[in-house]
């Protein structure tokens, strides 16, 4: 069985009066059992030359819905004002600004409208690093 782990560390010495040192590790497993996730598209990068427009990064119909998929994203831009707007179907989840990363669970739900995973760069020639871990 493949083993995939995700370790998060969040730290701050001055956000609160008490130092923040949050650390956690998850072994990424399939829905409802302890079997490791079995698929990935590998680590990839895409430069979106066309700029501001919405693009489908992952189509829900291509994956088993309502499982334990995870999506890793990183905005490779070094220009502070540049961001990718992340949406699931037509719901705006949030913005990842230059240098920001995210690990997002993804339902790939197709019950109603397909929960396609979409990106919208705020400028031309922005590069996104991404990886999908799948539970098929």
């Amino acid at each position: 069985m493949a083993t995939t782990t995700a370790t998060l560390t969040i730290s701050s010495t001055d956000l609160l009066s008490d130092e923040l040192a949050l650390s956690t590790t998850a072994t990424l497993t399939s829905a409802g059992n302890s079997t490791g996730l079995t698929g990935t598209n590998g680590l990839a990068r895409k430069t979106v030359a066309g700029g501001h427009a919405q693009y489908t990064l992952f189509a829900a119909a291509s994956h088993t819905d309502d499982k334990a998929h995870k999506v890793y994203l990183k905005n490779m831009s070094t220009t502070a004002a540049e961001f990718f707007l992340i949406s699931i179907h037509d719901v705006e989840v949030g913005r990842i600004y230059a240098g920001d990363w995210a690990l997002i669970p993804w339902s790939a739900d197709t019950t109603g409208d397909d929960a396609d995973f979409k990106i919208d760069p705020s400028a031309n020639d922005m590069t996104l690093e991404y990886m999908l871990f799948t539970d098929e």
């Binding site: 998060l8 334990a68 502070a80 004002a81 989840v93 949030g94 600004y97 995210a102 339902s107």
Partner: protein
């Protein structure tokens, strides 16, 4: 300014080339490198099965660089919390899973909600943001 860093390491032997991906970011306010996110909500709740609950009671300033961390502390592998936003399924966090996502909160309907499945799930969360609209009394 407050300085908060968030780092991730992903390791996997799914591929023939063992993977180890690391990334770190300093959580800044939207569009700047000069000022870090300086406000936080940090909590731990037990959520019984059934109803859907808004995880964040107040509304952070919309279209900013807010970040939301959520971890499911349940240990039964069949338990999960479903994450939804404006009734749209986002994803599921099974026992032990965590997420670190951007949170746009572009309008009142964009609250992030959770629904507990399988049993009572124990959920840790932290919202890093740059302002909320408090409800007047």
């Amino acid at each position: 300014m407050a300085t908060t860093t968030a780092a991730v390491t992903l390791t996997s032997d799914l591929l023939s080339d063992n993977m180890s991906v690391s990334a770190s970011t300093t959580c800044m306010k939207a569009g700047t490198t000069a000022d870090g996110l300086d406000q936080i909500e940090y909590g731990y709740v037990e959520v019984a099965t059934g109803d859907e609950y808004d995880l964040i009671a107040t509304t952070p300033t919309a279209a900013k660089a807010s970040k939301l961390f959520v971890k499911n502390h349940s240990i039964d592998e069949t338990y999960y919390i479903a994450i939804t936003q404006n009734s749209q399924a986002i994803g599921r966090l099974y026992a032990g899973d965590w997420m670190f996502i951007p949170a746009d909160f572009h309008d009142a309907a964009a609250d992030i909600a959770i629904t507990s499945n399988g049993g009572t799930n124990k959920v840790e969360y932290a919202l890093f943001h740059e302002g909320t609209a408090l409800t007047t009394t």
